[in-house]
């Protein structure tokens, strides 16, 4: 009998070894050489001095915003607003290629599908494999006419763009400090932690991982107040510095694809007769009103500025809950209050403050 149990020994040993290996693999790798200590100002300088790099890497984004998860089949394929919403819910993996300011490609990798945004010089292409459609934008050739927010990067923002946006918000109301070093994509990085001093905001803290060597922001984590897991996270999982293969940026629409020419996003000439959309609606008297300052600020859009697309209305009905005076879209980081009179009040504050701000007008 004893002999029989001895023979089971290898059968028990192998699973044990596998379990041990899996456990060891899941532990975070210990940091290699510690980075020289730096003050927040020095880390900010490190970010500021980094140049548009040539890189290729893989980004991973995950959101725990408390939004209802959209069914995968419904999102992405039908309307662009749904596809945009779908990026905010659930995890995503994207590959990023950049070579200087004029060459960029982002591939959002879905299961058995892919969304692409490619910029090569002045040509910008969007391609969605799910419905085999391509869109093309020809940017103006003069450098001055280049839109500030390059639409090629709007699909999934890379960490450095997000960091620049967030760091611009640094002001007296924020406590900035450098936390313990972190490992992102196998690289040692400074961890710049921004904590709002105000108690009224929903944002608990924002952590930006800054590569210790190049100053390239490697990841952004936004944590809601009172939560331990980040509500929104974008970080590289792998990163290779150096110019990617030039053929990556070359794109021509595949045969059989539906190609659509998009108008050039003009910011200067808002008097285009054909476009009565966002740019025209934003200027002049219908400007959104901001109350409060810093982290507690509440933005109020007057009625009519944000007419939701017809197919998005049903989605909005599902995602919002009725509250006093309107409907509330509540996420971990931002609350949106759609009032019954059509006004929309947005703020990273609890709903009571939104209602108070709405009542003032």
């Amino acid at each position: 009998m004893n002999r029989k149990w001895l023979r089971w020994l290898p059968a028990v040993a192998v699973p044990a070894v596998i379990a041990a290996g899996a456990l060891a693999g899941s532990l975070p790798a210990s940091a290699g050489d510690p980075l020289p200590p730096k003050t927040p100002e020095q880390v900010l300088q490190l970010i500021a001095q980094h140049r548009e790099p040539a890189l290729s890497g893989t980004l991973e984004q995950s959101s725990e915003l408390g939004l209802p998860g959209l069914p995968k089949s419904a999102a992405g394929s039908d309307s662009s607003s749904n596809a945009w919403l779908e990026l905010l819910t659930g995890p995503h993996t994207a590959r990023v290629y950049r070579d200087g300011p004029d060459n960029a490609r982002i591939q959002v990798m879905d299961r058995l599908a892919e969304r692409n945004a490619i910029r090569h010089g002045n040509e910008v292409w969007f391609y969605n494999s799910k419905d085999n459609t391509a869109s093309h934008v020809q940017l103006p050739t003069d450098a001055a006419g280049r839109p500030q927010h390059d639409s090629a990067r709007d699909v999934t923002a890379t960490p450095d763009q997000l960091a620049a946006m967030l760091l611009a918000k640094i002001e007296p109301g924020t406590e900035v400090k450098v936390g313990a070093d972190v490992q992102v994509a196998g690289r040692a990085a400074y961890n710049l932690v921004l904590t709002p001093k105000s108690d009224a905001t929903l944002v608990g803290s924002i952590a930006v991982a800054v590569d210790g060597q190049t100053g390239l922001p490697l990841g952004v984590e936004v944590t809601a107040r009172g939560q331990s897991d980040p509500a929104f996270r974008v970080a590289y999982t792998s990163l290779t510095l150096g110019a990617p293969d030039a053929s990556v940026f070359a794109f021509s629409p595949p045969p059989g694809a539906t190609v659509e020419e998009l108008p050039v996003p003009e910011h200067k000439h808002a008097n285009d007769a054909g476009k009565a959309t966002a740019p025209a609606a934003k200027d002049g008297a219908r400007k959104p009103a901001v109350t409060g300052s810093g982290w507690d600020s509440v933005v109020e859009f007057p009625a009519g500025t944000t007419a939701p697309a017809s197919d998005a209305t049903a989605l909005l009905e599902q995602a919002t809950v009725p509250v006093q005076g309107g409907r509330l879209l509540s996420t971990a980081l931002v609350n949106v209050l759609v009032l019954d009179d059509g006004r929309v009040v947005v703020g990273s504050v609890p709903v009571e403050r939104l209602q108070a701000a709405a009542a003032q007008k």
Partner: protein, 249 residues
């Protein structure tokens, strides 16, 4: 069984051929591309057969390995020969592995063959929007078949283990197939997100990564590692069970 698998691409291509144009974004992935390029029949057939048909056939083959011999009463004669139980187990698993390699290959190649017979063949559009020539597309198709072969090795190891537990081959087959379905159901539940990377079926449909430009090898590597773990785990269990099993009485 291989003929049944080969019937899937034939059915798909005939159905697309006789019906009107498929609107993009409906039905299984790549279905709308078939009419433009016959090589997509192979890919579509693989997409269709991954959730059920391939695991079903693998479950039948793997579940039959030991339990089939035991059920027919031939197992004791095999073990009378001075070959050793370990060797028998390895040979049985090698036979299953051979089927696992051949099955997706049959689906892919039959699909490509019937597709190129019924539809035009031209440059293939990848998920990234880039196009490659038909020759490279066939290479990608073979890579996908290899990916699926690797993916199913874990399931066949599970089937081998279950097969050592019982003398009823049908029970072992059914248990293996049910396990693969259960794993896919668990994979679809967002509440069990922590479990998903450990399910042997989690990366099955990620063979789309081989249709990107440039090819993303990450899922291939992580899938191979996972399946290797399953093979080692259930191979060891099958060894322990089979070596101590009372066959001769």
């Amino acid at each position: 069984m291989l003929c049944a698998l080969a019937a899937i691409p034939v059915l798909i291509s005939v159905a697309v051929r006789v019906s009107s144009a498929v609107p993009p974004g409906r039905g299984p992935a790549f279905l709308d591309r078939i009419a433009q390029n016959g090589l997509f029949v192979g890919v579509t057939a693989l997409v269709v057969s991954v959730p059920l048909f391939l695991p079903l056939t693998v479950g039948v083959v793997a579940g039959d390995t030991i339990a089939g011999e035991a059920g027919q009463g031939t197992l004791r004669y095999l073990l009378v020969a001075p070959a050793g139980r370990i060797r028998l187990l390895i040979v049985k698993y090698a036979g299953t592995a051979l089927f696992v390699v051949v099955a997706p290959l049959v689906v892919a190649l039959t699909g490509a063959g019937i597709g190129s017979a019924l539809f035009p063949v031209g440059p293939v559009t990848l998920l990234s929007g880039d196009t490659i020539g038909p020759g490279e597309a066939v290479v990608r198709l073979l890579l996908i078949a290899a990916y699926l072969a690797v993916s199913l090795l874990g399931l066949s190891a599970i089937g081998l283990f279950i097969s050592t537990l019982t003398d009823v081959p049908v029970g072992a087959m059914a248990a293996t197939v049910v396990l693969s379905v259960v794993a896919q159901v668990l994979d679809a539940l967002p509440q069990l997100e922590w479990l998903h990377p450990w399910l042997f079926s989690h990366y099955w449909l990620d063979f789309g990564d081989l249709l990107r430009q440039p090819v993303s090898w990450d899922s291939f590597a992580v899938n191979a590692l996972l399946q290797g773990g399953y093979i080692a785990f259930f191979g060891a269990l099958a060894y322990g069970r089979f070596i101590t099993k009372d066959v001769l009485s």
